[in-house]
Amino acid sequence: MIKFDQVSKRYPGSYETIKSISFEINQGDLVFVTGASGAGKSTLLKMIAGLERPTAGTVLIGNQNVSQLKSSAIPYLRRKFGLIFQDHKLLYDRNCYENVALPLYINGVLGEEAAKRIRAALDKVGLLNKERSMPITLSGGEQQRLAIARAVVSRPAILIADEPTGNLDENYAADILGFLYAFQQVGVTVIIASHELPHSIPDNVKNILKQLHLQDGELSA
């Protein structure tokens, strides 16, 4: 589904953030990308999601070569992914319902159909009773759950979370990870970036979990 072949990334005026990485992620995988800050986790995720193009090598996503995509095709590639950011990237000028509605509007899903799916997504993360609340009134954990609702509302095949638990205490973090595991259970490919593997991993997850550990832009076993 996602295939990296000898992929490097260098930002202008900087050393190579990613050095000749190769790996493959299959549909339904649960992948943890681990590594210290600055190891290149975010860059890797951005290349997976089509937010960055590689400097060298090939990135195949669903048999599409990202380097060869026209920039007009990039938005459609991005719609395959549900993105969860460390800083949520919620919009604070609108309520929870409208935040979750954004990806659907972008996909051209409107009206009744959209309302149904937005409520379903909010229900899944336990925020249905807060649909009219503004995101600023939510706790950190709730905001991250709202971000998850927004990421999954358009039913993406791949869910990418960049340090989703970075700013949360352990209880909340387990909570958030639980949601992400649940999506993997129903066939969604889940990719999570984190400093390290979580301390406690449920047994059923432990068996299928894959780890990509990055060190100075290189994969280590």
């Binding site: 937010l51 007009s72 938005p75 459609y76 590639l77 991005r78 719609r79 992914f81 993105l83 990237k89 919009l91 000028d93 954004l102 990806p103 509007y105 972008i106 996909n107 051209g108 409107l110 009206g111 927004r150």
Partner: protein, 302 residues
């Protein structure tokens, strides 16, 4: 089709909602645009009214031949014969002193004067339309006819009309320049307004792009905003012109009555009004298009 409509209605509703939230700002922008647009419109209204007024008067040069008061009918016939044969003359018309006097009495503007005169002071006259209306050849013809027997005065009419015509042409040019300059100003006003709105919504645009919004999707609400500002500005301009025309007419009525004239400023016609409105909308759209494209290009560079 339904889907397409919804995709346009949704951003339109969003934009209208935002405009309602910031009603004062929206009204002010429309007023700024209205004032800008109304300047050429007012000038147009004045020039158009003036040219309509001159249009009702024959604006082609004519020669008036006033015969000597004591000219016998044989002289009149001789002149008629000469006029008929003259190669440079297109048409001519004889107006006898009696019929001229009658017209004079019927004309509202001069009826008061005729009442105070005891006898007809008007001479017989020929009104001549030359073939060649070039000022120099008309003048040559006038000098020639002036020396004919029995002609008291050969006079070129419509000189003042020609001057007014020149002024009107100048006015039309001024409108063109004003339209070009202010059209540019309008694009800048809308563009800047939209640019500021984009800045306040930068986060939204960035997030939208991250989760797969096309540029079209991001542009749409801003283009609607620009178009609506254009519409609002166009309507404001029309209202300003209406107010100015009404204000001026209250004074013009007094002056025109003194000259027994029915002259009033009239509002621009339907087609002109529609053209102005559509241009305002178009300029609003163009301004926001330029602004949003510039911003999108900048965001993509990040």
């Amino acid at each position: 089709m339904n889907q397409w409509l919804k995709q346009h209605l949704q951003p339109l509703q969003m934009v209208l909602g935002r405009m309602r939230q910031n009603l004062l700002g929206t009204v002010l922008i429309c007023c700024v645009m209205g004032v800008t647009l109304s300047l050429p419109e007012i000038l147009y209204t004045i020039v158009d009214n003036l040219s309509q007024m001159t249009g009702s008067i024959e604006s082609k040069p004519q020669l008036s031949l006033f015969l000597k008061m004591d000219a016998p009918s044989s002289t009149k016939d001789a002149i008629a014969e000469k006029l008929k044969k003259h190669p440079d003359i297109k048409t001519y018309e004889f107006v006898s002193k009696e019929s001229a006097w009658e017209q004079f009495q019927q004309n509202a503007a001069t009826a008061d004067i005729t009442g105070s005169l005891s006898k007809n002071p008007l001479p017989d006259a020929y009104f001549v339309t030359p073939k060649d209306i070039h000022p120099e050849s008309v003048q040559r013809l006038q000098q020639e006819i002036q020396h004919w027997d029995g002609v008291d005065l050969a006079q070129i009419d419509a000189n003042w009309i020609k001057r007014l015509d020149t002024v009107i042409k100048l006015g039309k040019k001024a409108i063109f320049v004003l339209v070009a300059l202010l059209g540019f100003a309008l694009i800048a006003i809308v563009g800047n307004t939209i640019r500021l709105q984009i800045l306040t919504q930068l986060e939204e645009i960035e997030v939208s792009k991250l989760i797969g919004a096309t540029n079209q999707f991001i542009r749409r609400p801003f283009l609607y905003a620009g178009t609506l500002y254009g519409l609002g500005g166009g309507i404001a301009a029309w209202l300003i012109v209406l107010a100015v025309v009404t204000l001026f007419n209250s004074s013009i009525t007094q002056i025109a009555d003194l000259y027994a004239s029915q002259f009033r400023l009239s509002m621009p016609g339907l087609w002109v009004t529609l053209t102005m409105l559509i241009s305002a909308i178009g300029l609003g759209w163009l301004g926001s298009f330029v602004a949003v494209n510039r911003s999108l290009a900048q965001i993509e560079k990040l």
